[in-house]
Amino acid sequence: MDNYGNYETPIPIQRINDYYSSLRWRNQFSYMERLPQHLKEKVDSQDPVLQRYRLQISEGNDTTSQDLAKVDSSSTKINATLEKTFGNSMEDSILGRHQQYISQRPEWHAPWKLKRVINGHLGWVRCVAVDPIDNEWFVTGSNDATIKIWDLAKGHLKLTLAGHAMTVRDIAISERHPYMFSASEDKLVKCWDLEKNTAIRDYHGHLSGVHSVDIHPTLDLIATAGRDSVVRLWDIRARVSVMTLIGHKSPINKVHCLPVDPQIVSCSTDATIRLWDIIAGKSRKVLTHHKKSVRDMSFHPREFSMVSASTDDIRSWRLPEGALLTNFNSEKSGIINSLSVNQDNVLCAGGDNGTLSFYDYKSGHKYQTLATKEIPGSLGSERGILCSTFDQTGLRLITGETDKSIKIWHQDDIATPETNPGLPWNPKLSSQRF
């Protein structure tokens, strides 16, 4: 008992860190320590005999002393050897690119937590949109065929709009008109006057349920798309379908308008995203990277890029041309129903199994996952996030769920990188897919 205290000599945290980092390095990259046999032969054949011999000796020494080596030194060493052997072509190798990727640090974000639960709908909450001007209210559309307007600060119901006969699938609020547009599965798109609180126009023409609606930011056009797998452009006042964009092979999940080309972007259950040239009336580019139905896409408010999600697969794209920007570390995340990005580079992905996962937009690092709080009395199968959006400030996240509730989330104010470091930055080579 007396010599118990002697065992408890304090180990410096630095040493523990070193130990674990070396362990991690060995588990992940020890296979990269040596070049493959065929490459080594190639390299060796270029060097003179004496140098070849030295290299071998030095490598042998390294392996003995590398157990407690720091990550940085070892990685730079490998970098150096790789660079030495391949020169400029190193950037094209998988390992080289992964090395580059891993050496960068993702931005830290505060974790998110539940702030408020709002009940009121009698069915799934299928879509949510925030007042674009004053940021004072938000709208939800539901399976009970109603649209409800809520106060954002207090969470009170302000108004219920009834007019649709079936599920309201999408809502778009205009910044330039006092109008709100809603798309429903009853094949109708309705225009609501927010000054009179009545539906003033119907847009007939879709052959099946309408899944998505969006307003063109500069022209008096709305784009709608749905189960009949075409995108229709309507003149707001004339109620005439001005253009029909044909190309998708199965129902379209989401359509979005942009002020410059590509002015229409749509994603579909045929696993493609199409960027449309509406002057020519056909698709400019088809993005075929996803394997399964692309259920949602979202646009970054501060940069010209978008993010799209299919099962286990989130990717972001640079916009005028549609070039792949980031592969998010999203394997095993299941079906993703909704995506939303805010101006602080936080991406929220709402899963069909009720998990919210938060990513750093630029690095693709998943820093938090959390399950939604279940409403008492709801079934176990009613865990699913169907829609989500950030408010105009990007500080609050509103989600609509299958348990008929609306939930508001916010970031933890007192969290710091020290207290809440989030999930570890430990991307696997396989998660990059290429």
């Binding site: 052959l207 022209l219 056009l221 001005v242 080309d261 509406i278 075929t288 394997k291 916009l319 990059q432």
Partner: protein, 398 residues
């Protein structure tokens, strides 16, 4: 049958048989060779490895600026022009725009017949027929995915190496369509194993143990109630033996004593005497008939006669109902009703009213009949006048 689908005649040598053959060859060529070679080449040309590589992998902080105002303005102007013209066309074709004269002239088309040099040149102006703007569209919308027209082949950038399902695996996932056990107009059959599989865990002819539980519980409750009753009875007997005379006997005596005391006096004696007289006359006392008899007597005394009908009606009205039920049941019900707010409906609605006396026959005895009509009708023989009439009419005789 389309004649164009028929093969060309075999015996006659056609001038364009060669063309037929060539076109056939071309079709075959298109079907077999062309698409594959061309598309694969074009796809291969388009495929770019750099498209697989995420740009932000190298540097997270790539700047991607939003489009500036100038770009937006330019794009807006360009698209606005296109869409304005498109909208104009749409509105015109829909007939929503005002039909003006100039527009008509533009669409009209002048055609000339005959040789240009000769005098008999016929000039014709072809004008589009005016359409009813409110006529619904003649196009029939079908729920079909519109075909893609003239689109280039795009390479697929995902590794779709997913395993193809075998037939057995597909069969495993197959969910058979539901067949009702009650209504099956199309006569679908359900295989025997499926029928048995669909049933619940209970084997056929097995009764749930809950039934026996219930009967046991009921039996137990009954037994307890009986025991309690017998116990109570015993206690009551014990109490009665302590006080002396048995309770029931005593009560019965009191009732017996109270009954005749009330109806003492001259009236009672009178009635008794009458009864005695009646008994002596008819030998036996008949409850039903004595009232009628009395009525007849009264009528006789008054100097009138009563019909049998009137008498039987009066008898029925004055008849008292049989008292076969236990009156305690009713008194219990009334008590409950007075205590609780909820009414206790254990007897008919009009029990207070004497239902049998609602449709009472009129008391004809008090009012003497004034006319001959009130008296009973007497049937008489046919008179001779009737006979003469019939004879005169038809000229027939017996």
């Amino acid at each position: 049958m389309f004649t164009s689908r028929l093969p060309p005649p075999t015996k006659t040598v056609h001038a364009d048989s060669e063309i037929y053959q060539r076109s056939n060859e071309r079709i075959v060529e298109r079907l077999i060779k062309q698409p594959i070679t061309v598309s694969s080449q074009s796809v291969a040309n388009k495929l770019n490895f750099q498209d697989f590589l995420p740009l932000r992998q190298r540097n997270f902080d790539i700047e991607i600026p939003l489009p500036n105002a100038e770009e937006i303005r330019k794009a807006t102007n360009k698209t606005k022009k296109v869409f304005d013209s498109l909208l104009q066309n749409k509105l015109e074709s829909n007939g929503t725009s005002v039909a003006n004269k100039n527009h008509k002239n533009v669409s009209s088309n002048v055609v000339r017949y005959g040789k240009s040099g000769t005098s008999n040149v016929v000039e014709m102006e072809i004008v589009e027929a005016v359409q009813d703007p409110l006529q619904p569209s003649r196009k029939k919308f079908r729920k079909a995915v519109a075909p893609i027209s003239g689109e280039e082949v795009t390479p697929i950038y995902n590794s779709s190496n997913e395993k193809k399902l075998t037939k057995e695996e597909i069969r495993k996932w197959n969910i058979p369509s539901a067949i009702s056990a009650w209504k099956n107009p199309n006569g679908y059959t359900i295989s025997l194993d499926k029928r048995l599989g669909g049933k619940r865990s209970l084997a056929p002819n097995e009764v749930s143990s809950k039934f026996t539980d219930l009967s046991d519980a009921l039996e137990l409750a009954d037994k307890r109630a009986r025991e309690e009753l017998s116990h109570r009875n015993e206690r009551r007997k014990l109490l009665a033996s302590h006080s002396g005379t048995p309770v029931q006997e005593r009560d019965g005596k009191r009732l017996y004593n109270a009954g005749p005391e009330k109806t003492t006096g001259t009236e009672h004696a009178k009635i008794k005497a009458e009864e005695k007289e009646l008994v002596s006359r008819y030998g036996e006392r008949r409850n039903k008939n004595d009232v009628a008899q009395r009525l007849r007597k009264l009528a006789y005394a008054a100097g009138t006669s009563l019909s049998d009908k009137v008498i039987s009606g009066t008898v029925a009205a004055s008849k008292t109902p049989r008292v076969d039920y236990d009156t305690r049941l009713y008194s219990k019900g009334n008590k409950v009703h007075s205590k609780n707010s909820e009414p206790f409906y254990d007897d008919p609605l009009f029990v207070q009213q004497d239902i049998e006396n609602i449709y009472r026959t009129k008391d004809t005895t008090s009012i003497p009949p004034t006319s001959a009509e009130a008296r009973p009708v007497a049937f008489t023989k046919k008179t001779d006048i009737d006979e003469s009439e019939t004879k005169g009419k038809y000229g027939l005789s017996k």
